[in-house]
Amino acid sequence: MIQLDQLSWQVAGHTVLDQVSVTIPANTYAVLMGSTGCGKTSLLEILCGLRKPTSGRVLLDGVDVTKLEPRERGIGYLPQDLALFPGLSVREQIAFAPKLRGVLPEELDQRVNRLAEQLGIVPLLDRRIEKLSGGEKQRVALARALAAQPKLLLLDEPLSALDEGMRGEAVGMLKRVQQEHALTVLHVTHSSAEAAALGQLHLKLAEGRLVPPATQGANCTR
């Protein structure tokens, strides 16, 4: 469960996020919409600890994580540009987090292969990321995030670089991944169709404030 409590963020005297409060229940697929520059990406970055809020708190499963480092939060993050690690193979990308945590080689292989099968990227495992298509890169970035076994997944316009045909397929994949891994997902998008297909909870940011959700099951205050 994600709780944002009176979260504000200012930069150079300009208020980007203004006392945002919302609760996203566990295992919910939440979709966040809003115009360009309204603070959606900043909100995701505050959630995963890459930015410190000016005021307010971030709670995950009831625990205040506002002052915790990103690595201590157990959050998977897919930025819009995917930010794959240059020079590494697909296998190395997926193995990055488990290896860092000292997972034994046998278990590491199993985890990488399982995720690769799940996301349909087994034939790509030994390829370098520079040789992948946009859709393939997106799957690799998702597998890399899932390999860290997060409870919460933040997706920043993950389908924006895909064409219409691939987007439908990717929507199905994201739905399946959220259910199989029992994830709480916060997905930023500009696409109403994408939001309608995926969202169980719909949020909208306007001028740094959250517009009340359109569905039941969430509390959102200004």
Partner: protein, 260 residues
Amino acid sequence: MTLNRSNLCWLALAVITAGYLLFWALLLAATATYSTPESWLQVLQSPEIRHATWLSLVTCSLAAGFALLLAVPVGYLMSRREFRGKSWLDAALDIPIILPPLVVGLCLLIFFQTRIGKAIEVVIPFTYQLSGVVLAQFVVAAAFAIRTMRGTFDHLPARPEDVALTLGCTRFQALWHVALPAARRGMVAAFCIAWARSLGEFGPILVFAGATRMKTEVLPTTVWLELSVGNLEAAVAVSLFMVGLAVLVLVAVRATGEKV
């Protein structure tokens, strides 16, 4: 092609560029034709110059290595972190570049006469020693290496490091596992630039480490020593050898895709 005003402008700029390059070509050609290749070889085989060459290669490599070790963390800090007084620090890091070389040498000489400097020299003697040559080369070369590494990190997106932090990395691990592999070409370029700068260093070495034959004599010192005794042929041969090394470095840096 008709010569309109725009074409005339480009033509004028091309003539200026060509004129400058021609001037340099004439300088090098005049130096190269001053003596014969046989006399170059003869000069370069003398024990003193072979020793100075060996010493230059070793000290430049050490100075460039140390410069890179300093440049990576400083360049990363300056590129990735915003903090109060950053522009002042940025300007301060360029001081060795703008200081007259002899002044750098004098500063080193005076520092090692202070209490702190003398305490350091109890452990590692620098003044008029071979280690002093490396230190004199390092203090200037490091500024160039820092500039190159900062430029490299500025051109690399910070986002993969951010993602690495969410995947469990500390900031140091993100630097080590993500930023450094991505910056390897820049590191090669920074090393080469620091190496080339060290090779040409003369003023600080002369003041701080001296110009003792077979002890602290490096190639620029050789040129100066040979000129001071009127042996222009030897000075020319060593200079051409240094030009050759500089060209090799330039080629190496260009191969990394970086700019000097």
